[in-house]
Symmetry: C2
């Protein structure tokens, strides 16, 4: 398959101007030059465009983060686990912009200790440690003296779910494909799960509270 | 307990200017006038301020939505289930600002049919129906021909979790308190669950992919 940039745009759904921007930024490899200011593109360009679009549109990644993920995919000495880590960590939350407040530091220490006690092996660099600590800070700032143990019922459920999700990732195809699946799966099912949980709350609330009058 | 606005601010952690704004907007009832431009506040003001803060800061609700939730709480003829519904629906997503695209309408119809097939009783007005359809639209726009059945494993888990959450809500105290719990629980554990799931993915990925090299 060989096509002009207009056809590449049509098949990928990415506007020509955006493709040109990705080409300038090096996120998509150059095509084969055919004439002055023209080039041919192929299957590999289509696949790369889809990956970049997943990272940008689904994952919300900026150009620099996308470049990091592409570099990890391109580094064939990097175990797949580490490539997936680069992609997951790029989803955020971003590193501290300012020194964290004392209650944030305290919550992080509590989350770290709790994860250790559960023997969850998670890198000290994981942004999700900070995300979880932020949740704890929010609860505590409301005046509720909570510890990370309030998360315990959720940890068990999340763990079961994640085990199945990781088992379902393709392992022997190109790393780019596994990364694509992981990013789509992480972001998409996060939103889906939140919506499903709210609807399930509604139906159980109907059973429990439909007839509850106050006063 | 009787206090000036400065003490109310200290005890609630809400700045005096914000309290005055809430008073003007009618979100907090007026205090007992004591002198020209002064008033006394009590326990009820503290509780109301905490609720407004949860709705605004945790739930991200605007003034109009907070007013709707407070009105539902104040209407003692309204069953608790409906009060909780007003609070949950206020969390969004907001109604359509423009007529939805054809693929959005198609996804909504698919989600509706799927929920019916699962016999989940969820109001046609639930914003979470739209949220779930939006997820499906996102997946399909990537070129993946998915149906709502991809959400099935998540529905089962979300349902189990929600059953326990609703059972844990206080039923016989003031409705305001139950609403507070529900909003905190919904928003806070949504974020916590997402962070836990990512960390669990990391640990299972380590087991499965640590040694997977490519090439």
């Amino acid at each position: 398959m060989s096509m002009r940039i207009s056809e590449l745009s049509r098949q990928s759904g990415v506007p020509v101007a955006t493709i040109k921007y990705y080409l300038r930024e090096g996120l998509v490899p150059p095509g084969t030059p055919t004439a002055r200011n023209q080039a041919d593109y192929g299957e590999e360009h289509l696949r790369r465009l889809r990956l970049v679009r997943v990272l940008a549109d689904v994952g919300g990644l900026g150009i620099a983060a996308i470049r990091d993920v592409l570099a990890a995919i391109g580094d064939e000495s990097m175990p797949l686990h580490d490539v997936l880590g680069v992609a997951q960590y790029a989803l955020g939350p971003p590193p501290d912009a300012a020194p964290p407040a004392p209650d944030v530091l305290a919550a992080r220490a509590d989350v770290d200790a709790w994860l250790r006690a559960m023997t969850w092996q998670v890198s000290p660099e994981s942004p999700s440690r900070r995300a979880l600590a932020d949740v704890l800070v929010g609860v505590r700032r409301l005046g509720l003296p909570a510890g990370p143990e309030i998360f315990a019922p959720y940890a068990g459920v999340a763990d079961e779910l994640a085990r199945g999700e990781v088992a379902a990732l393709p392992a022997d195809g190109p790393a780019a494909e596994t990364v694509e699946w992981q990013v789509v799966g992480t972001v998409v099912f996060e939103a889906a799960f939140a919506a499903l949980r709210r609807m399930a709350q509604e139906r159980h609330s109907a059973t429990r509270f439909r007839r509850t009058r106050r006063g």
